[in-house]
Amino acid sequence: MVHKNIICPVCGGSCDDVQIDLDTKNRTIDVQNACKMGNAKFQEVVSNHRLLKPTIRENGKVKEVSWDEALEMAADILVNARRPFFFLGSETSCEAQEVGLHIAEYLGGPADSNATICHGPTVMGIQESGMVGATAGQAKNRADMVVYWGVNALESMPRHMSKYGVFPRGYWTKRGRFDRTMVTVDPRVTPTAIASDLHLQLNPNSDYELLSALFTILNGREPHPSVEEITGIPISVMKQTVEMMKESNYVAIYVGLGVSSSYGKHRNIEIALNLVKELNNYTKCNIGALRGHCNVAGFNQLASYLYGYPFGLDFMKGYPRYNPGETTCVDLLREKDVDAAFVMSADLVNHIPADSAKYLAEIPMVCIDIAPCPTTTASDVVLPGVIDAMECDGTFYRLDNVPVYFEPFTDSPFPETKSNEDTLKQLFAKIKARKEA
């Protein structure tokens, strides 16, 4: 049967125009409109490596158990820990993350999500400076200058350029690509850089200096000449870029991990945001991050409105506290400051530094995932995951922080659970029963 307007649960683009044809008899799926990355994930619905049975590790051996047994053991691990850590991954709905946050609060443990290892610094920069933002649609209709800074959009969010950024025809950009000037700032010559009109190939880790120099030029001053050697960009080109920005009607800047995860981290983002604020004295300018996972922005939104902080929350004292570097995932694991972990919809072991991953593998761990990965291998309890936007409904936040409600086109393969949210609610009930007994 053909289903239209399905939301893609892969990258922050959360494309909402995917068309699928699922043949349950022959176990095949035909996907239209999605990019390669999106298509690959849709194939998971019919893949044969899908995790279908809960497993636990007993005396070093992995064995299949019933859902109830697995949930019991998961609850035991989390209740018996003195400081359980919750990693609420971004490849699931806000609804599931919300239950996870409540469990963390109930047990007094720290809770974090994927932003901590990707755009966390961006969120911290926003906290320092505030952000001139816009929805993707606004930028599509108005932007006549597009800057991709530290991001290779063509490969990391393949449909960004065609759906929102560069090619689409907007209300005031009727000729699409021909009405837009495209600039890429990247140390590498990426396909995005090749496709752009101007490529500023700066030296790695010199984003702050370049932004600072652009800002100085915007303020009518001459930057210190040493900046040419530091960034590898001539001051004349910097001046030309500032002029281009000032002369545009609307500048849309998209930042990626090249800005937020190179030296300087949130300070890079902070000065970029300040530059954008100042540019609004001359023209309209907005900035946004190209988020990596479908719901990585969702956790930030959710945690902010529920508990006041976007990620790296610590409920140790009964109220939320936040201090990246102290209460964030990698730091807690490196400092061995937690003694059990719950990891949902994120292959955490695969994405953190070796020291942290090693400790994570040593402590008791419960995980929810859809396919075998290093995290499931290192876990003591594995609960099979339900695929959001395919098998259950829920909410994602798109890259521009717009909430997108998604509906499923098939059912959860498990009679025991409807969604990850459902699994977490069952787990929470068992945890409460133990604590209150």
Partner: protein, 269 residues
């Protein structure tokens, strides 16, 4: 003067938050009462005696109470937080947030101190004889105002974000620093005797920074205004010749910050 000696004896497998360990809290208490004060480990509170042996009574007031920690406590955080008077002496290394928000008194750490020492401190002094990590005398996350008074002296090195958001007080680093030393300061004084890697004084709108060593990568928004020699700020002396810059002009209409950079070590600037 009354000395209270704490000797670490407990299991610090999870870090401990001990913001109660201040002369203010110990003053007027007996050994037993001090031992019963509660510290946090994970989401639970335990008496201080679970982690330290306690010897001696507190003085009559905070001023005449000295707390001596006899050992290394790299996994104990927040000692001396918000203290107003008295002394804390750590005969080893200390954990995060030492003396954060302190208003008076003195903290001496004979070993290293972890990040956030003296965060947003308002008065008093901290002397770290070893090295320290990031965010020394810095602002809390998201806040624009860091340390506003008092003095921090580090004999060794510090890492990044030294004195972020400084509005007053002095920080003197005997060794070197890395990134964003004096980010967004608008008052006070930072003296670094050694080298700095990059972005010194970024976004500063006031205050003074002195770098005695070499700056690897200079911040673009500064303009040179002259050369001065043998700088003196009250009792802090910086001998030698210094190039004087003002900035940071990356921040609109400001540039009231002063950055002195050693002539000898920065010929290329």
């Amino acid at each position: 003067m009354a000395d209270v000696i704490l000797k670490p004896t407990g299991n610090f497998d999870l870090t401990v938050e001990a913001e109660v360990v201040t002369p203010d809290n110990f003053a007027g208490k007996t050994t037993e009462e001090i031992g019963k004060l509660l510290v946090w480990q994970g989401p639970k509170e335990y008496p201080l005696t679970d982690f330290f042996s306690v010897q001696g009574n507190g003085g009559n007031s905070a001023e005449d109470t000295t707390i001596i920690v006899d050992g290394d406590i790299p996994r104990v955080k927040r000692i001396g937080q918000e203290m107003t008077a008295g002394r804390v002496l750590i005969k080893g290394s200390a954990g995060m947030h030492m003396g954060s928000g302190m208003k008076g008194g003195e903290i001496i750490i004979e070993g290293d101190a972890d990040s956030w020492a003296g965060m947003e401190m308002k008065g008093g002094s901290i002397h770290i004889k070893g090295n320290t990590k990031d965010h020394l005398g810095c602002a809390y996350r998201g806040s624009w105002k860091g340390m506003s008074g008092g003095r921090i002296t580090v004999d060794g090195d510090a890492v990044s974000q030294v004195g972020g958001g400084l509005t007053g007080g002095e920080i003197v680093i005997g060794g070197s620093v890395k990134h964003f030393c004096g980010i967004r300061i608008n008052g006070g004084l930072i003296v670094v005797k050694g080298n700095a890697v990059r972005t010194v004084g970024a976004e500063m709108t006031g205050g003074t920074i002195v770098i005695g060593g070499c700056i690897e990568r200079f911040t673009p928004g500064f303009e040179m205004t002259g050369v001065e020699s043998d700088l003196k700020f009250n009792d802090i002396e910086c001998p030698g010749e210094y190039k004087k810059f003002t900035g940071d002009y990356a921040i609109p209409q400001k540039g009231k910050g002063t950055l002195y950079v050693s002539c000898e070590n920065n010929e290329c600037l």
